[in-house]
């Protein structure tokens, strides 16, 4: 069953057509990668899914409900979490607090006036946060300032912040951008584990083919704002149209 259904989405910036007639169907509990050369519209498409951009036309359905016109927090409350291209975390807060915030969002909804309650009394949520920190092997950095973490750790923290909400759909925008090979492999392992353990559907935008082919079960190739092909990794590898999009016209 398709959990995310994108149909006929168009988005123009001035005269530039960033997305034209994009269709995309993501099956539940799969890892779906979106690849394509620079400027193919991958990030624009992602921004249309999370409420940052509003498509000019078309529809985006999540679990049978339209997400168009909803605010980012409303889309998140439906069960869509997003990992950004550059890690977006709460730099002034501690690692534990960074994890606690999505916990509160999950339990209490988009707003709750808990001005006279005590942080220390939220033992259930603190335990849950500690567990997820152990999962991403950051337990020893629990009380560190998030801004002081290394880039790789910030990325893992952001991932943990998304996971602790138990989203149904996790959107990852180049999750290994700027990472060393070892960190990249760790991230791949982490994502594999998440996918097998937690029944989370994932949509990954990625440049690194190593990451894409290690994780994805389906791949959509985007070129100049339109989907070129959608297929399994093995078929994509040998597809001449894909090679053309990436490398230019073939010689023969």
């Amino acid at each position: 069953m398709a959990i995310l259904e994108v149909k006929g989405v168009n988005k123009n910036f001035g005269g530039l057509a960033a997305l034209s007639d994009v269709d995309l169907s993501v099956q539940e509990n799969t890892v779906h990668a979106i690849i394509g050369p620079n400027g193919a519209g991958k990030s624009t498409l992602l921004n249309c899914l999370v409420g940052k951009l509003m498509p000019d036309s078309g529809s985006v359905m999540f679990d049978g409900r339209s997400v168009l016109g909803l605010k980012p927090h409303e889309i998140n409350q439906m069960g869509i979490s997003r990992v950004f291209q550059t890690p977006e975390i709460f730099g002034d807060l501690t690692v534990l607090e960074n994890i606690m915030i999505p916990c509160f969002a999950k339990r209490d909804g988009a707003f709750r006036m808990h001005a006279f309650e005590q942080f220390a009394h939220e033992t259930a949520l603190i335990d849950k946060s500690d567990a997820i920190l152990a999962d991403v092997s950051m337990a020893d950095q629990r009380d560190a300032h998030a801004a002081s973490l290394s880039r790789g750790d910030k990325r893992r923290l952001e991932m943990a912040m998304c996971l602790v909400q138990e989203p149904r759909l996790l959107l990852l925008d180049e999750p290994t951008a700027g990472m060393a090979r070892a960190d990249t492999n760790n991230t791949i392992d982490l994502l594999k584990e998440i996918n097998s353990k937690r029944d989370i559907t994932m949509v990954i935008i990625e440049h690194d083919m190593h990451v894409v082919f290690s994780l994805a079960e389906r791949i959509t190739v985007l070129a100049q704002g339109t989907p070129l092909v959608e297929d399994t990794p093995d078929n994509i590898k040998g597809n001449p149209k894909v090679q053309e999009a990436y490398l230019g016209e073939s010689q023969n």
């Binding site: 999370v50 605010k71 980012p72 927090h73 998140n76 409350q77 979490s81 997003r82 950004f84 977006e88 975390i89 709460f90 730099g91 002034d92 807060l93 607090e97 606690m100 915030i101 999505p102 509160f104 969002a105 999950k106 909804g109 988009a110 707003f111 006036m113 808990h114 001005a115 006279f116 309650e117 005590q118 942080f119 220390a120 939220e122 912040m161 909400q165």
Partner: protein
């Protein structure tokens, strides 16, 4: 204790002790000595310390936690004062209903202003709040003061007249703001040798209000709600993509902050039963910004320190005149004395703003975390020196 952790409890107890003992602590010089003019232990000034302390604590909840700089908080101060004085005029001099109305009305005001201003952030938010405050000032100063409908009594300021209704006022009650008959104006004077200490009802009433305000602020800082506000300052986009709606959080912080200002405004009318439009002017809004930054934005105790610091300068430095300076430098040769007096002259009396400006510059440049950071640095240095002494002692012992 009271739901506070160990450090916060210590801080809270220290604040309570300091406010209770303030009449002694702020009055270190004997009445007849030449230094007596530096004494701050008289009711009028001590009341200002605690009232503006409340104002700054409230402002810090908005600015210190969320980073949204409101430049119009004086509007709530003024609204609080006017509300309190209207209770005096219509019903009773009892301060409790006056304060309740002050807080409620300023809260409603904050909802209206916050709802519009919070549609923007950064400098645009600041300008919107400034615009609202200046509009409130204009309303109070002229528009809402005409013979047909006189809400604010314009330039003169709102005050109590003999023919006011005062429905629940009785002959037996004091003709001044009071709490169940105990007049806010009554002062007990205690003479100890050459010293004279003053214990004033209004001061202690305001001090209790400040202690309560401070307690609530600590709880708010340490609550999940406080954490959300810090998250807004840190990364509002992330907060929205984490499923939290930052708008109601901001509005709640703005309204709480406005109610603190309203309480402070009401208390100004407790110490002196009148309200003037100048309380809403942009200079008053700027003052609370200075207090908070000078003391240390985002810290618990900083705003209170900043408020005390600025009010002390305003009231003490402005009183020093050339005559006093001549006394100080009298031991010098005449020419040198005149020369020094001429140099210091621009910085005292009416020039106290100049001194404050220089001090503010120094603090912002060298102590970006405000007076609190200064205190922390001193404490750290002291601890290091003590450790070094201990280490040296230990070395000596082992050498022996």
């Amino acid at each position: 204790m009271l739901g506070l952790n160990k450090n916060d409890t210590t801080l809270f107890v220290v604040i309570i002790i300091l406010t209770i003992l303030a009449p002694f602590l702020l009055n270190p010089f004997p009445t007849e000595s030449t230094l007596a003019q530096f004494n701050a232990g008289y009711p009028d000034l001590m009341e200002k310390f605690v009232v503006f302390g409340i104002f700054a604590i409230g402002f810090n909840i908005l600015f210190g936690l969320t980073g949204y700089l409101s430049f119009g908080h004086a509007a709530f101060l003024g609204v609080g004062s006017y509300s309190a004085v209207w209770i005096y005029k219509l019903f009773t001099y009892n301060v409790l209903p006056a304060l309740v109305l002050a807080v409620i009305v300023s809260g409603i005001f904050a909802i209206l202003i916050g709802f519009v201003s919070l549609r923007r952030s950064g400098i645009y938010f600041s300008i919107l709040t400034l615009a609202f405050a200046q509009m409130s000032f204009a309303l109070a100063y002229s528009v809402l003061s005409n013979p047909k409908f006189n809400l604010t009594n314009g330039e003169t300021g709102l005050q109590i007249y003999a023919n006011d209704l005062q429905l629940f006022h009785r002959e037996s009650l004091p003709n001044f703001p009071h709490i169940f008959g105990l007049s806010m104006g009554s002062t007990y004077k205690l003479g100890v040798g050459p010293w004279e200490f003053q214990f004033n009802v209004a001061y202690y009433f305001c001090a209790i209000m400040m202690i309560l305000s401070f307690y609530f602020a600590i709880r708010l800082f340490r609550s999940p709600f406080g954490m959300m506000l810090r998250a807004i300052k840190s990364n509002q986009q992330r907060l929205n993509y984490t499923g939290l709606n930052s708008r109601p959080y901001m509005l709640a912080a703005f309204v709480i902050s406005g109610m603190y200002a309203g309480l402070a405004g009401g208390l100004l009318a407790v110490t002196d039963p009148l309200a003037g439009a100048e309380r809403m002017q942009w200079t008053a809004s700027g003052e609370v910004v200075l207090m908070t930054i000078l003391g240390g934005a985002g810290t618990l105790i900083g705003p209170v320190l900043g408020a005390g610091f600025i009010k002390y300068f305003e009231n003490i430095f402005s009183k020093i005149n050339d005559q006093v300076l001549h006394q100080w430098f009298a031991f010098l040769p005449d020419g040198l004395e005149d020369f020094l007096v001429a140099i210091v002259h621009p910085f005292i009396g009416k020039g106290w703003h100049l001194t404050l400006g220089i001090l503010f510059m120094l603090v912002v440049i060298f102590l970006p975390g405000g007076l609190v950071e200064g205190g922390q640095r001193i404490a750290r240095t002291a601890r290091r020196l003590m450790n070094r002494d201990k280490a040296a002692d230990a070395a000596n012992v082992s050498a022996d």
